[in-house]
Amino acid sequence: MAQSLDRLRESPSQTAGPYVHIGLTPNFCSISGVYATDLGTTMVNDKTKGERIGLKIRVLDGTGTPLKDALIEIWQADADGLYNSPAELRGAADPNFQGWGRCPTDMETGVCAFETIKPGRVPFRDGRLMAPHITLWIVARGINLGLHTRLYFSDEEEANAGDPILARIEHRIRVPTLVAERQGNAYVFDVHLQGERETVFFDS
């Protein structure tokens, strides 16, 4: 026997279940008076720097049916590519932009609508700039461990072509699964949990 590494193991994940709203967006499910507002519902204010954009995101199951009981969180840099986080050592992020948002899928349409800004570019580990992107984290009944992926932008073709993460996708036919289509001021993005168009999910 050798010595022990004395490391703990991460708490195993369990599904958020069908009633995730109670805990994370109680006002959305008619539990009012506990929190003044649901956390993460408003991402921008008048002073936030950057181009205002909307995101319309759906999550589709293996039959193509939109999930109506999922919850999506997004995490992104500000207009200058800085994260509002103590782990951001490159400079001070826009104080009017936390960069984090949360939205349950609409119970009828399955759409998550975010109002945010287009993020700036963030450097990869080797200093090259990644294409503008938003990190997505998806939980729902039937999802045992939160799903991690990214949303890239259809009108950033050149940046996308040089993005070091997109470059790692072996089957190039799957790259578009991470690219949201611009429609007016909004980007439309379908996350496919399964099937031919299954979204590329991350282990990072």
């Binding site: 703990l8 193991r9 991460e10 708490s11 195993p12 994940s13 369990q14 599904t15 279940g17 069908p18 009633y19 805990g23 994370l24 499910c29 539990i31 008076g33 506990v34 929190y35 956390l39 199951d61 293996g62 969180e73 995490w75 840099a77 509002n84 986080s85 103590p86 782990a87 951001e88 001070a92 992020a93 936390q98 984090w100 963030v122 450097p123 580990r125 080797d126 200093g127 992107h133 990190t135 984290w137 729902a140 009944r141 039937g142 999802i143 045992n144 461990l145 939160g146 799903l147 990214r150 993460i165 790692r168 996708i169 949990l193 399964q194 299954e198 979204t199 991350f202 282990d203 990072s204």
Partner: protein
């Protein structure tokens, strides 16, 4: 960079330990039917954390209301309280290195003492408690410690097999310091025989991993003539040491 209040420690910016996906339940656990059409089937794209995963949002204590960590009273009419076995749930949020993680937002939600959720999709015949909402939140202190007061949730039947019951449980949502640490899980109660029959729990392969989600009765933390106590520690991914890391120019 926003300063951590009361702390002059340099923020940690190294990447996180790789996640052990054999320790977590896999995406597809057919005994839990909802996972069948909602489980990705293709291989995940693996890469070492970038700044997008290393950084994460911060939540300050200022956002908390006075009763946020008291589910017995945060939805109750003035002077009234939720019905059920009164309990304190307490513990620490640690990372895999055993270090307490301060400033972590924990949100929790649960059924009432009868096993009924305050949600329009829950049609279980157990009654709603007019004084129980079922949600609460807190932020860990300097040592990663947290505590909240609630009533013990009841077990409940759910549509999966013809006669499946969830063990009593509390749902937990936890933020670390990096978005890669984001975690949702459930806490079970020591001694509940339903734990080992539950298809959601049984998605976890390792018995030790299930035990890691099972809170232990803590008779030293009870409040005499008031509330029982359960201790539940939560472990988030640890960070690698960046001391000897050979980082390329420009980063």
């Amino acid at each position: 960079m926003p300063a951590e209040s009361g702390s002059n420690r340099r923020p940690e910016t190294a990447a996180f330990f790789q996640r052990d996906r054999t320790w977590h339940p896999p995406a597809l656990t057919p005994g839990y039917k909802s996972s069948v059409l909602r489980s990705p089937q293709k291989a995940l794209l693996s890469f070492d954390n970038t700044q997008s995963e290393i950084a994460g949002p911060v939540f300050g204590h200022a956002m908390l209301g006075e009763l946020d960590a008291d589910l017995i009273h945060n939805f109750a009419k003035p002077g009234e309280s939720a019905i059920g076995e009164r309990i304190i749930v307490h513990g620490r949020v640690l990372d895999e290195r055993g270090v307490g993680v301060p400033g972590v937002l924990i949100e929790f939600w649960q059924a009432n003492a009868g096993g009924r959720y305050r949600h329009k999709k829950d049609g279980y015949l157990a009654p709603l408690d007019p004084n129980f909402g079922g949600c609460g939140r807190t932020i860990t202190g300097d040592d990663g410690g947290y505590a909240f007061r609630t009533v013990k949730p009841g077990p409940y039947p759910w549509p999966n097999g013809p006669n499946d019951w969830r063990p009593a449980h509390i749902h937990f949502s936890v933020f670390g310091h990096g978005f890669a640490q984001r975690l949702i899980t459930q806490m079970y109660f020591e001694g509940d025989p339903l734990i080992w029959k539950c298809p959601i729990v049984r998605g976890i392969a390792d018995k030790a991993a299930i035990e890691a989600l099972t809170a232990i009765l803590d008779t030293q933390a009870t409040i005499p003539m008031d509330a029982l106590a359960y201790k539940f520690d939560i472990v988030l991914r640890g960070r690698r040491s960046s001391l000897f890391e050979n980082r390329l120019e420009g980063n």
